[in-house]
Symmetry: D2
Subunit: 340 residues, 4 copies
């Protein structure tokens, strides 16, 4: 049986190269093509020593594949996606280009004209725990952002069950790989090590994405999201602390049972009895969730932890691919976190 | 002129030894006595190599001093404070023993019978930006906790001016020195490095302290505090993100002006135009504050940064001492942060 | 076909739990038994949240297995190894008990009477790149220490080819997981973060192990090792810088070619053209080696990088198991490093 | 009495801004002028929030000062130094331009024609522990590099006393602030955090500087230095491990006594009885030294720790300034390290 061929457009960013790690190890597909602009012509294992021994050339153009992942920046990605779909290649788009359903919202937040608005209608938001069946039938997946993944998984059970007021605060803490591989003062080691900061207080692009997806889970009320992202001095890992008022009398045990029930069959979501640490997700596709009720204010607090590059990026993309190809959803993603 | 003699009870914890650093350098007082149980009989500079060259013995009992700082754990501290006050020595208590005005609240949160309830009445909560004149007249100061310092300074202007609803969320991120010098799995390097976690979701002892002090600033409404502390992988530094609904139509510029006005003459509070980093406070007594209005939900967000061991501990204690002794408030505290 | 059953004695240390990660994912064996004292009776996935979902109880005694890994401390390990071998179970001993061939040397460095000296004769030093064929036939493997693995792999080609004087300096830098899971002041986050230190300058237990194994590769001269280990503020990773005088006229290119040739068929050793980083080995069984000649002193310098818990511990143990069982040597170890 | 006016040319690098911190707090001089290209026209406290409240403009040209510090890159610095000396301003040059006595050596390593060779003759190498009296009389100081400071202080006693063979290995570990404030992949947080690496194995510019200065202390033999610098994931701090063969029968206690004697009156050098950590020097001008004899090879090992930006840069420059101006050598430098 011939193996399914997959490729990565723009392998040289952090999600791109983490996709290469996961796809290289995936038993159901063959990673046969990786592209990159500046590194074109070089061996993957030369540019990335942890891939030493992997025989793949970085090329300027994508080779012959069945499924492509685009890890290009927004706008550039939509253009590449459109060209790729025309060749009957299924696409999982890591960029934000097909996440927002509403073009004016996209153009307000991303400050560009959308390069392929005609494709928006068929793009499926690739959060398998919410949209599994649509993903399985799609030819274009909008892979969620890292902050939205952590926030939506934390809040979906509570919102779906009508448990909370939809005026929600999401306070997220991210490791610095989330800021990408491009050099900036914010990601300069001496500026950011031993330091915590808040940013994007005037509005972050992941806020409308969180709001849109949570709105779909809240039939009767308009969702409002106050979202503040923070940078903490670690490479990988994301913890979101979500706050919302409870609409019902309910005990912490009942909330936890409700969450467990909601995620009962999910291979990549674990509802815990103790607050989680991001460390326990490092390198894995796991999302750890801990719901609690603040004893004095009776507010619901939900803590979620993911590896921002795996469940918040490359791992989720592979999970989507598995669904699209009819492979077991966990294939190639069984790897446990690297602890300690 | 003879110099004022000061001493530290229990110098071997992180706030205790940071007090030694600050008092040793202080031009207006002489650090003449430091106590410690396990290290009694040793040279300070032997136990703490960064103090090499400082000629001070760690003793079991406090020597002859004018002012004492108690850095003992709670309950043990109150006992030592009572004994010390009897000798006509002014005391700045770093522990929590005299922070809560209400004995049942203290006993609920600290699970001990208060050893010196008769002293509670005269103890002054040592946040100079709020209680400067009372501090100057006090003989017993309850030095604030680190989380309360960061939260109260962030919220005092908004609450005092009646700007916000008093249902407030405080999401704090602390470096690990805040967890002290005692060995625990939580502070074991391999368990906590490259990891962020939330803790004390069932209630943290600093919550009633924050609520009590903010309530004093809010005449007409009952203050409610949802407080969640987090640990981030850095040694020093604390950032609190505070969220509250606005009660008035006001622009971000007006809020910032109001904050600047409130802290106009404060030597250790700076209101910034950009979100701050904890790094810019390392080793200094500075509190950096950034108020903002979330563009979509119109919620007030205030970010504050301190060094948890300085403005959140030893530095604030020295600031209180300066006030009690009639010395210039900034004496011995002019040191800028170590950057980068 | 029934799968091979394996077990871990003392799973709760860092190498023990990393073995659990690797063996759980191993396609050729089944991890059926894990022991632990304090945690006996608990679920593995409860004690270690990154293993959430793995259905294994921690027990007091080892179950029925074909191969056992002992991750007990020295002396305790030899006792357990002896008992286990009696049950016809092959053993890979992670402790130092069977690494030193000479009992007086063992007892000098480990300060205990050897509990099972009769087994020393058959124990094979489990460095596959050097002892592959003996490992395949052994029933007892002494799994090498982390520092020795990094030093021996760095120096074996040069010593075997008679390239260098055998008066060698090994300056090693280790992440803090190497210091184990037991709580100590050295591994307390606030004491060790943002700090580098040297230790064991009076002699480290891995020195005689390095010397013994390198001596076997140096026929005509007595090997002398000056070994200084250092702690650097990272969780995982080990870099050894090895210095030795050259005995021959040889160019850097020729040295590199000699190294490449020596390791030509090794799946887990890569000789690089540029100095490596420990980061590129995180979580993987890879050893990266970079030999160079100092331009002014003509001294050979060899840099090697490993993950101290994988190639320096659990991964190497699995590699040894594969050889002992006749499985492909790389089985279960193909996982690439987590980068960044 | 009018205060001495000092200025900093190019304040925006890490040593430049650390000079500003130290000079601002210095009781014997007034920092009146700081220059910077890109930031010219801005307030110092705006560009560097930890200096908030300091009323200084960054200007394009140096104002009227008595002493200037040049923190420009090499070559550019020599040009500025020449212009500044012409105005009868004493200069402390932080760059490497006047450190090497031999012009061909300078031009070989720095790949530029020396812009001011006529000044080399009068420049004094500013290591006060070695050249105190010459520094006091100089009008141009070549402030030492960070690696040379740590290596020379570690080796000066042994070499001066003829204790060791002059074939020396220096294995240094540096925090990343030593790599400067310019953005590079090497200093990108996600690339360098949780990672240790060796670099410049083909030769580092500080090697000839170390060799030159150690040669001056070794009358009868030619000094040879094998120097390998490493980067470890911390912001500040440098530890050098120096290795050399002993020429004499001597005990470790005698070596330590010899070192203590050599540095008996030095305010900024402490010879310790236990291996030091870089952490105990953070933000201070202290150099901690620990000499030992390896028990099996009888090789001398000397460990030294400094803060690379203070004793390895800005603090040493201030120490030199104090000597040049006849001020107490420790003035403005009494600040203890920030611990933990």
């Amino acid at each position: 049986m011939e193996s399914i061929k997959v490729g990565i457009i723009n392998v040289t960013g952090y999600i791109g190269i983490d996709l290469a790690r996961l796809l290289h190890q995936h038993p159901g597909v063959s990673l046969v093509s990786v592209t990159g602009r500046s590194a074109a012509g070089e061996k993957l294992g030369k540019v990335f020593p942890h891939m030493a021994g992997v025989d793949l050339d970085i090329t300027a153009e994508l080779g012959n594949v069945d499924v492509a992942f685009s890890a290009l920046p927004h706008a550039a990605s939509a253009e590449a996606v459109a060209r790729t779909l025309e060749q009957d290649i299924k696409v999982i788009d890591i960029s934000a280009d097909f996440r927002l359903n509403d073009i004016p919202t996209y153009e307000e937040w991303y400050k560009v004209t959308h390069p392929a608005p005609e494709l928006l209608g068929e793009a499926i938001y690739g959060l398998p725990e919410i949209n599994r069946s649509e993903i399985a039938k799609a030819r274009l997946i909008a892979n969620p952002g890292c902050y939205p993944t952590s926030a939506i998984l934390a809040l979906a059970p509570a919102l779906s069950e009508g448990l909370i007021d939809p005026d929600i605060i999401v306070d997220s803490k991210s490791g610095l790989s989330g800021a990408g591989r491009a050099l900036t003062m914010t990601t300069h080691f001496a500026e950011t090590n031993e330091s915590t900061s808040a940013y994007a207080l005037g509005g972050h692009r992941h806020m409308p994405e969180i709001r849109q997806e949570l709105q779909k889970l809240s039939e009767d009320q308009e969702v409002s999201i106050t979202f503040v992202p923070h940078l903490v001095p670690m490479t990988r890992g994301m913890l979101s602390s979500c706050y919302a008022g409870l609409r019902k009398e309910i005990s912490e045990e009942e909330v936890r049972a409700l969450y467990r029930d909601f995620y009962r069959d999910e291979p990549f979501v674990q509802v815990l009895d103790n607050p989680p640490q991001t460390k326990h997700t490092l390198g894995s596709n796991l999302c750890l969730i801990y719901p609690a009720i603040h004893p004095h204010t009776r507010r619901l607090i939900v803590i979620s932890c993911i590896d921002n590059l795996v469940k918040g990026g490359a791992g989720q993309a592979v999970q989507n691919m598995n669904l699209m190809l009819g492979l077991p959803e966990t294939m190639g993603l069984e790897q446990k976190a690297i602890y300690p």
